[in-house]
Symmetry: none
Subunit: 221 residues, 2 copies
C-alpha cells in the first residue's frame, strides 16, 4: 500500500492506470497537466511518481527535477518506445526506471511493485489528510513540510493516532504519557500540549485534533 502520484494527460490511460494500481491497494492521485501537477504534488507525501514525459503544457522531465530538488522519492517515466532520447534524459533527470508505451498493465504493476519494494521495504508511514508520520525516524510532515515536534508532542500525537475513532479523556492521556508516580500533573498540562501540537501542525480549525466538549479529544473525522 503506497501513495502514488500519476501525471498523465491522456485521461483514458490515466484512468486505466489508476484502476490497476488501486486494485493492488495503492492510493493514486492523478494530475492531467504539468501545471496541475506542480500545484498538487506538495500537498502530500508520495512514495512513487509516475510521470508521462510528453505533456501538452510542459515536460515530465522538468517535473522530475523539481521533485528531486527536495526528495529521493522514486520516479518512473512513461514514454513512447521510439523516443529513446527521452528515455536517456529520464535517467539524466533522476528517474529510476521507465516504462515504454504502449505497455501492458502487468508490466506496469511489476515495475511499480519492484520499485516500491526496493524503496519502502517494510517501512510503514502513517498518513491522514496532509499529515504524515514516520514512526522510525520520529519525524512528522505537514503538507510536505517537516514539522519539528518535541518528544512530548510526538508521544501525544502518536497516542491520539493510535486511538483514532475513539475519544480519549485528558485523564487517559495523562495516565499513558506521564509517569504518574504520585507526582500529579495538572490536566491543563494536556491542554497546553494539545495547543502547542495544534499550533505546530497548523491545525487551528481542529481538522486533526478535535475537541469533544466535556469529554476530551479525538483524532480526525
Amino acid at each position: 500500500m503506497a501513495d502514488i502520484f500519476l501525471l498523465e494527460d491522456d485521461r483514458i490511460l490515466s484512468r486505466g492506470i489508476t484502476i490497476a494500481l488501486q486494485k493492488d491497494g495503492h492510493r493514486v492521485t492523478a494530475a492531467y497537466s504539468f501545471l496541475e501537477a506542480l500545484g498538487q504534488y506538495r500537498r502530500q507525501k508520495y512514495d512513487l511518481f509516475l510521470l508521462d514525459i510528453n505533456l501538452p503544457d510542459g515536460n515530465g522531465l522538468a517535473f522530475c527535477r523539481k521533485v528531486r530538488e527536495t526528495s529521493e522519492t522514486p520516479v518512473l517515466f512513461l514514454t513512447a518506445n521510439d523516443r529513446e532520447e527521452d528515455m536517456l534524459e529520464g535517467y539524466g533527470a533522476g528517474g529510476d526506471d521507465y516504462i515504454p508505451k504502449p505497455f501492458s498493465v502487468e508490466v506496469l504493476r511489476k515495475k511499480v511493485q519492484a520499485v516500491l519494494k526496493r524503496t519502502l521495504g517494510d517501512h510503514l508511514r502513517i498518513r491522514y489528510k496532509d499529515l504524515e508520520v514516520d514512526p522510525d525516524k520520529c519525524l512528522v510532515w505537514m503538507k510536505g513540510e517537516e514539522v519539528h515536534l518535541t518528544s512530548t508532542e510526538y508521544k501525544l500525537l502518536n497516542y491520539l493516532l493510535q486511538n483514532r475513532g475513539r475519544v480519549v479523556t485528558r485523564g487517559m492521556i495523562l495516565e499513558n504519557l506521564w509517569d504518574i508516580d504520585g507526582n500529579f500533573v495538572d490536566e491543563n498540562t494536556v491542554r497546553v500540549n494539545v495547543k502547542r501540537l495544534r499550533q505546530k501542525l497548523g491545525d487551528a480549525n481542529q481538522e486533526y485534533i478535535v475537541t469533544v466538549f466535556g469529554m476530551g479529544y479525538t483524532f480526525g473525522e
Copy 2:
C-alpha cells in the same frame, strides 16, 4: 553500486556513458578535459576511472599515472580501435583494461561490471555526502581526507550508519557498544564520544550525526 570517474571530452558520448552507468546504480562524475580532471578527481574517492586517452589539452595516460601515484583504483581506457599503440601504452601506464571505440553500451557495462566485481568483490563502501567509510579496513574519509578515529568512535559511527533512518537512543548505543557486565557507564559517555566524533568529522552543524532532542541520535537527513 560504485563511484566512477569519467574523463571524456566528447560531451555527447560522456552523457550517454553516464546515463548507462547510472542505470546500473553507479554514481558518475564526469570531467571533460585533462585540466578539469586534475582539479576534480581528488575531491572524492572513486572505485573506477574511465579515461579517454586522446584529449584536446592533455593525455589520459598521464592522468592514469597521476592516479597510480597514490592509489590502486582500477582504470579503464577508452580508445580508438586503430591506435594500437595507445592500447599498449594504456597497460604500461597502469591501466586494467581498455574499451575500443566505437563501443556499444552493453560492452561498456559488461567491462565495468567485470572490473568492479574483481576489485571490489562484495566489498561495500558506505557513502553519505562527503563522508566515506570502509568497513573492511575500518577507515574513514571526509571530503577525501582520511580521518583517524579511535575504535570507540569508529564503532559509534558504524552503529549510527547501520541504523540510518532510525533514531537510536543513548541507551541502545550503550547496550550495543559497551559491554555492560554490571559495569555501568554514564550516558554522558555517549554524548562525549558523539562530540568527539562530530569534531573529527567537522560536523559542527549536525549534517551527519543529528541530535533528536529527548530521543537520541540519528544519522543523516
